[in-house]
């Protein structure tokens, strides 16, 4: 059991996982967007 005086647990792993969870699909969406947007200059 953790006592009140002990330092709070580090959340770095959880923070990285949470940002990866939302960042990965967003990166996929951005990749698809860039791919499509280049058609303005090549199409």
């Amino acid at each position: 059991m953790t006592s009140d005086s002990s330092p709070p647990p580090s959340r770095r792993g959880l923070i990285a996982l949470a940002w990866l969870w939302v960042g990965a699909p967003l990166a996929y969406g951005l990749y698809e967007l860039v791919h499509k947007a280049t058609q303005l200059f090549t199409g």
Binding site: P7, I15, W21, V22, P25, T38, T42
Partner: protein, 443 residues
């Protein structure tokens, strides 16, 4: 009724933006509804107006549930709101899957439009006040991250849904399976938000940050009785109308505009233009809202509305002689459109405090619903009339651009009229403390 989830000691505030993003990236799928339109039309024998019904009802429900559910969201906290959003949004897809499988279109309207639309409204406002409380010194940046997610949701869903329909088929069973996978996937994805979201335990969650609850506090009920609320309503409505006018008709607009020029625009190039506008919309949400923390909310709206009007004027004056300039101006206008959405919660917080900022934001979103009707109506109606009159090229849109400039000027004036809220609308400190006490039971 549930209690807001209090953060345990040492909880990082950097866990809250991904929680918000998991909800906004999901509900932002609404803007990718058009992917389902052609398959639905051929599988269920619908016309274009009918296949747009689920989306239209969803946007109406977004406005209504945000306006009427805002107080409940404030009372029950972000976890309750995110759970409601998860259940409604995912159930909407599951009901739609049943509708597609049984070829009952009304079930798709009910599921995606009505039930899913409630999820959109509650989900949209769910993290706003929590983010402002965690990032009191950077409210623009914090809410900008979440609201950027709503723009990003369509970027993810559009190619993802299209690929799914390609794999499952575009007959009614394929559409049903796609709806089912969407419902289940979004339920899992949004769970992160429900699990991670926390309300700060203290008024000052970060060392050195100003107290979240300090300064003016106004209840949602009082806020709608102030001229400041209605000035901001006009500001948002005018800014969104100006952006949505381009966004809704972007592909045919750029094609028509340069049809008579030496550099006509092909269909694939027009699709690229639409994609670029989406990127500007998203970048504006995070970039301009972050900037608003540095230069102030009133100044940033001066830029959105004043420079936005100048951009429209440039397009109208230069016509079809400079395509890069047209693209650049459209990108700037769309970045202001996104920025306007993302900065408004922080503007509300500056004027009305954090007390019921989520509920006030919900009520203000009725300006979005109004603009959603007004913007496309102006541009489409005028372009049709001009076509009937035998006009072509830039002449099709000249009058629309003139009206947009006028609307932006009205918005600019409304922003100039914004003053600090009169003391008679402020809530007594004792009542705020009592409400906080009620909302923060033993963790």
């Amino acid at each position: 009724m549930s209690s807001p989830p209090l953060a345990p000691p040492g909880w990082s505030r950097w866990l809250v933006p991904p929680a918000a993003l998991s909800v906004h990236l999901s509900i932002g799928q609404a803007y990718a509804w058009s992917v389902f339109k052609p398959p639905l039309e051929s599988a269920l024998k619908l016309d274009g107006t009918q296949s747009a019904l689920p989306f239209q009802l969803a946007i109406v429900m977004l406005g209504l549930s945000a306006a009427f559910g805002g107080t409940l969201v404030e009372r029950n906290g972000p976890r309750w709101a995110m759970t409601v959003a998860l259940v409604c949004f995912s159930s909407g897809f599951l009901i739609s899957a049943l509708g597609a499988q049984t070829k009952q279109f009304w079930l798709i309207v009910l599921g995606y439009g009505f039930v899913g639309g409630i999820g959109l409204g509650i989900g949209y406002i769910s993290p706003v006040s929590t983010l402002i409380k965690w990032f009191p010194e950077r409210p623009g940046m914090a809410t900008g991250i979440a609201i950027m997610g709503f723009g990003g949701g369509a970027l993810i869903a559009s190619p993802w849904s299209a690929q799914m329909l390609e794999s499952f088929g575009t007959d009614h069973s394929g559409i049903a399976l796609a709806f089912l996978v969407h419902g289940l996937s979004y339920a899992v994805f949004m769970t992160l938000g429900v699990l991670l979201v926390r309300v700060p335990r203290t008024e000052r969650p970060v060392e050195g940050a100003p107290a979240a609850g300090g300064g003016v506090q106004v209840s949602a009920r009082s806020a709608v009785r102030t001229p400041q609320f209605w000035c901001l309503w006009v500001v948002l409505c005018m800014n969104v109308t100006a952006g949505i006018g381009i966004l809704e008709k972007a592909a045919p607009m750029i094609t028509d505009f340069f049809a008579d020029s030496s550099t006509p625009v092909s269909a694939s190039a027009a699709a690229g233009f639409v994609a670029l506008l989406s990127a500007a919309n998203m970048a504006g949400r995070i970039g301009w809202s972050f900037t608003s923390d540095l230069i102030g909310r009133k100044n940033i709206y001066r830029v959105y509305l004043g420079v936005g009007a100048l951009m429209y004027l440039l397009i109208a004056l230069v016509g079809d002689s400079a395509k890069p300039l047209f693209v650049l101006c459209a990108l700037v206008i769309l970045s202001f459109y996104g920025g306007g959405f993302a900065t408004i919660p922080a503007y509300l917080k500056d004027l009305f405090g954090t007390y019921q900022v989520g509920a006030i934001h919900g009520r203000l979103l009725t300006a979005w619903s109004t603009a959603g009707v007004l913007g496309p109506l102006i541009v489409n109606w005028i372009a049709d009339r001009q076509k009937e009159a035998g006009k072509h090229g830039p002449a099709l849109y000249g009058l629309s651009f003139g009206i947009m400039i006028g609307l932006l000027v009205i918005g600019f004036v409304a922003n100039e009229l914004v003053r600090p809220v009169h003391a008679r609308h402020h809530i007594p400190a004792q009542r705020e403390a009592a409400d906080d006490q009620r909302q923060q039971p033993a963790a």
